[in-house]
């Protein structure tokens, strides 16, 4: 959450920066070339950027090529056709870095599109080749070696080479891109990058980690030839220029209709199109992304057949606006699907600020946990679609917590704990008071107006246990500020998970005392416990998944015992609706997906499209299809 700009440590580099950029400015009228500046930068950081020869490769490297990993696409998939989809807002930029680059459109052109070195098989968690056709692990536990695929090409036909990774580090560390997060990430977390030849590199993380593949294998190449004119005007100059991609889809300049729509086009003869793991995927020739600025309008467009697919996860759409008995569903034009996925869930819940009076009392916290009726909210308000989140670290396939469950709603237990804290009498309004006449009353702060209903239910239920919860719904930014500065009593918020999916939960951010009682950290509970700190220190240095699993159990148990985080709810699946001409693999989707279209597994059946549209005109019906895919649903939940 906290990033700061760290400039390159060496003064020499700064000098080189100034000199080179100074010279370049004079030549700005002529064609600019960032090349020499990058070269100078590599030389100035010779300890980081190492140029070696193939003979320098360590002996005994075991190369993996993913040949034992199963493919997950459907061989029967047909390539071709145009998919019609929508976006809520026109992208504010096509850049991948700098201001506004982190918008939702980035998913289409970068996150779900561009290839990284190696990718995670989204069912098994193994790795398969992407831009690297083979990879090996160093003996130090923090270095990985990659052999780049010589076939790899950018969408403009230029081959991907080792130099592009060197340039990537120069690019992401450069001040031109005005991106402090990238500046920090590429400076702080990596300690070495070595080129052995044009197609062999190694990268080193700052410490040994068991999930090195996710960290080192997810590096992107940055094409130097595209950024020749990189300079102080990067933000404007590259605002609407799309970097050539290694992935399947690109945006042609003529397909960018500002404010109206964007078309993604499949790269002609995409280099990976026939390779294992990429064949039978990304099947549409074109994806039309229409700007529709209102979700409900987009939904109507979907029902009319203008859009092929629509996410129906919200109960409102699934039950009320497109119920199973809707003619479109009953006549089989639109198919509905529930897919149980398995990814780390957003940690929605009550974060009790243990630095606040009363909330520093363990019994008060435990009482609040028993008085929070999330079960009723999940069951009655979310219609049982949402289930109770069990811990603050749910959804890590490799790190389950089978023994930890949240405290259930129990008025008796809540009263018992409140009584231990001295709250024994009910006032005239039914709220508990202690001997000093202090009321058991707290303010719940949130920045999410859609949680209004949830909070009003919780407030009513808590009152039964003599606890008053005042609801404070603030503007998102103000709420974030209040919560980040730890001025809240109880924060109702959640942390999303990042891409690529992490393999195990983080504790340092949320529970280490070095983040307690400080503004702008994720330790919202202000937990400061020396024993927990010690465990976290060991956990963060753990080098095997077994050790991580063992320590995580202890840490999660401590989090539970501390009762400062009250888990709320999670949605263990996603739901989609799609017209019957969109076809899917027989298992529908993959375990680690967060939405139906994420891995490009679907395809369009043009004949079925014509047939369906004709049928709609003359009232002909097909068998309805409402399917539940629960092969990845955890047992017992």
């Amino acid at each position: 959450m906290n990033h700061f700009i760290r400039f390159p440590s060496s003064l020499l580099a700064l000098l080189a920066f100034v000199l080179v950029s100074g010279c370049a400015k004079k030549e700005a009228a002529v064609a600019r070339d960032i090349g020499p500046e990058a070269e100078a930068y590599f030389k100035a950081h010779a300890d980081f950027f190492r140029f070696a020869t193939p003979t320098d490769l360590p002996n005994g490297l075991v190369w993996h090529d993913g040949s034992d990993v199963p493919e997950f696409s459907a061989p029967e998939a047909k390539r071709g056709g145009t998919a019609f989809s929508w976006i809520l807002d026109f992208p504010r930029t096509l850049r991948f870095a700098g201001p506004d680059a982190n918008g939702s459109f980035r998913t289409f052109i970068l996150d779900d599109n561009a290839l990284i070195l190696i990718q995670k098989q989204p069912n098994t968690g193994q790795y398969y080749p992407a831009l690297a056709k083979a990879w090996a692990y160093g003996s130090d536990g923090k270095t990985m070696y990659f052999k780049l695929d010589p076939d790899a090409r950018y969408s403009d036909g230029v081959p991907v080479k080792a130099d592009d990774y060197f340039f990537a580090f120069f690019f992401f560390r450069s001040r031109y891109i005005t991106d402090p997060w990238s500046n920090n990430y590429y400076t702080e977390y990596f300690t070495n990058l070595t080129k052995y030849d044009d197609y062999t590199i190694s990268a080193t993380w700052r410490e040994p980690r068991p999930d090195l593949e996710d960290r080192l294998g997810s590096l992107y190449p940055v094409p130097e030839h595209f950024y020749k004119e990189l300079g102080d005007d990067y933000v404007q100059r590259y605002q609407w220029k799309l970097e050539p991609t290694t992935g399947p889809y690109t945006v042609k300049p003529e397909d960018l209709h500002k404010g109206s729509f964007v078309d993604l086009t499949r790269v002609p003869d995409w280099w990976a199109g026939d390779k294992p793991f990429y064949r039978h995927r990304y099947n549409f020739d074109r994806i039309h992304l229409q700007v529709i600025r209102d979700v409900d309008k987009a939904f109507e467009a979907f029902k009319r057949g203008d859009l092929d697919m629509f996410g129906l996860s919200l109960p409102k759409y699934w039950y009320d606006k497109l119920p199973d008995n809707d003619p479109l569903v009953q006549k089989g034009y639109i198919h509905k699907t529930v897919f149980y996925n398995q990814i780390p869930v957003s940690t929605y819940g009550f974060y009790l600020n243990t630095a606040m009076p009363l909330l520093d009392n363990h019994d008060v916290r435990e009482g609040i946990a028993y008085a929070s009726n999330f079960d009723l909210v999940d069951h009655q308000y979310f219609r049982g679609d949402f289930v109770r989140m069990q811990t603050g670290s749910d959804g890590y396939a490799e790190v389950p917590f089978p023994g930890i469950h949240p405290r259930p709603y129990s008025i008796d237990k809540a009263l018992e704990h409140f009584a231990k804290a001295g709250f024994t009498q009910r006032g005239s309004d039914g709220i508990l008071v202690d001997e000093k006449g202090q009321r058991l009353s707290f303010t719940v702060t949130t920045g999410d107006p859609s949680m209004r209903d949830v909070l009003t239910i919780l407030r009513q239920e808590a009152a039964k246990a003599g606890l008053e919860l005042n609801i404070e719904i603030l503007d998102e930014t103000t709420a974030d500020k209040k919560i980040n500065e730890k001025h809240h009593q109880i924060a109702f918020t959640g942390f999303g998970t990042s891409v690529p999916i992490e393999r195990y939960p983080r504790y340092w951010d949320f529970y280490d005392s070095s983040n307690a009682n400080k503004p702008q950290t994720n330790n919202l509970t202000n937990t400061a416990d020396p024993a927990t700190d010690k465990l976290i220190a060991v956990y963060d240095k753990a080098q095997s998944m077994d050790e991580i699993r063992r320590l995580a159990q202890q840490l999660e148990q401590r989090v539970y015992d501390n009762a400062a985080f009250i888990p709320a709810f999670k949605m263990p699946f996603y739901r989609s609706g799609f017209w019957r001409w969109i076809k899917w693999p027989k298992d529908f989707n993959v375990r680690f997906s967060d939405g139906a279209g994420q891995y490009g597994l679907e395809w369009i059946d043009e004949a079925a499209k014509k047939e369906t549209l004709d049928a709609r005109n003359n009232g002909q019906a097909f068998p309805p299809e409402i399917k539940v895919y629960d092969q990845w649903k955890p047992k017992g939940e």
Binding site: G430, T456, Q460, K464, E472, I473, L474, D475, T477
Partner: protein, 348 residues
Amino acid sequence: MFRIDPITRRKLQRFRSLKRGYGSFLVLCGLLLMSAFAELLVSSRALIVKYRGHYYFPTYAAFHPGTDFGEDYSYETNYRKLKVRFAAEARGDWVLLPPVPYDPYENSFEEGVYPPTPPSLAQRHFLGTDTTGRDVLARLFYGFRTAMIFSLLFLVLVYVVGIAIGCAMGYFGGAFDLIMQRAIEIWSNIPFLYIVIIVASIVTPNFLLLLGIVVLFSWTDMTYYMRTAAYREKARDYVAAARVLGAGSGRIIFHHIMPNILSLTVTFMPFTVSGAITLLTALDFLGFGLPPPTPSWGELLEQGTANLNAPWIVSSAFFALVIVLSLVTFIGEAIREAFDPKKFSIYQ
């Protein structure tokens, strides 16, 4: 303090003779009276409980834990369930519930039924429930009370400030008038809605804070009318006479000028009230109004428009708003007609 002069009396008679306006006035007064005793009509608390020979009147009393009536819980008694239990036991205990036995805050969930639920006579949800299972009629009724208290307080405050400053400007004139006019022009150019939005996003406004902000930006309109009226009045002989008799500025403004121009303000009042109701509803609709779970019409409208498949929410709020605003407007029209100076001015 003020004696009703013959002209005012004739104006009031005229108002009474305007059937539509006077009728609306009576209906609105009736509604206000009802809402003053809302707890007796719409509440989850019973009116009377007879339990083991004792009579209880929970409506305005401190809460009764369930244990008071032999239930096994220590929170507020659920009188609807109590009634069912007493009926089943048939020991002569009974519960008298209000006509609408729900309060505007409680979520009544039933197994397998997901809110919002449509109107139901059997459940006594006469206008159905909202998205969290709260009774729409209860929310509407208490929302009406909130809106009326808000708009009447708004009316009083805006008029007190506006009239006092406006009269002072007109009476003193000169530099004071000039400076105040410019100040008011600047002040009224501050975009009021943005201020409310900014304040509401920083702190959750409560009733008084919201009222305060709204009044702070609304008193200026009244000053223009009062200033002109005071200018006109102060040139009259009776003001000069009062001054000759040695009356001070305060006395002249409040005792002599004001009673004579007050009739002007009467014609504005209904429109100020309807304006305030609309404003509060709009702010609540946008989410910048009173904090949840305060019952309010704006919040109901917002819920209703987001859930058009539950038409009873939006239509209840819509019709309630239309009816009350129409009543107020009818009253306003009637007052305006009754107080029309063309009918009663005496030209000398």
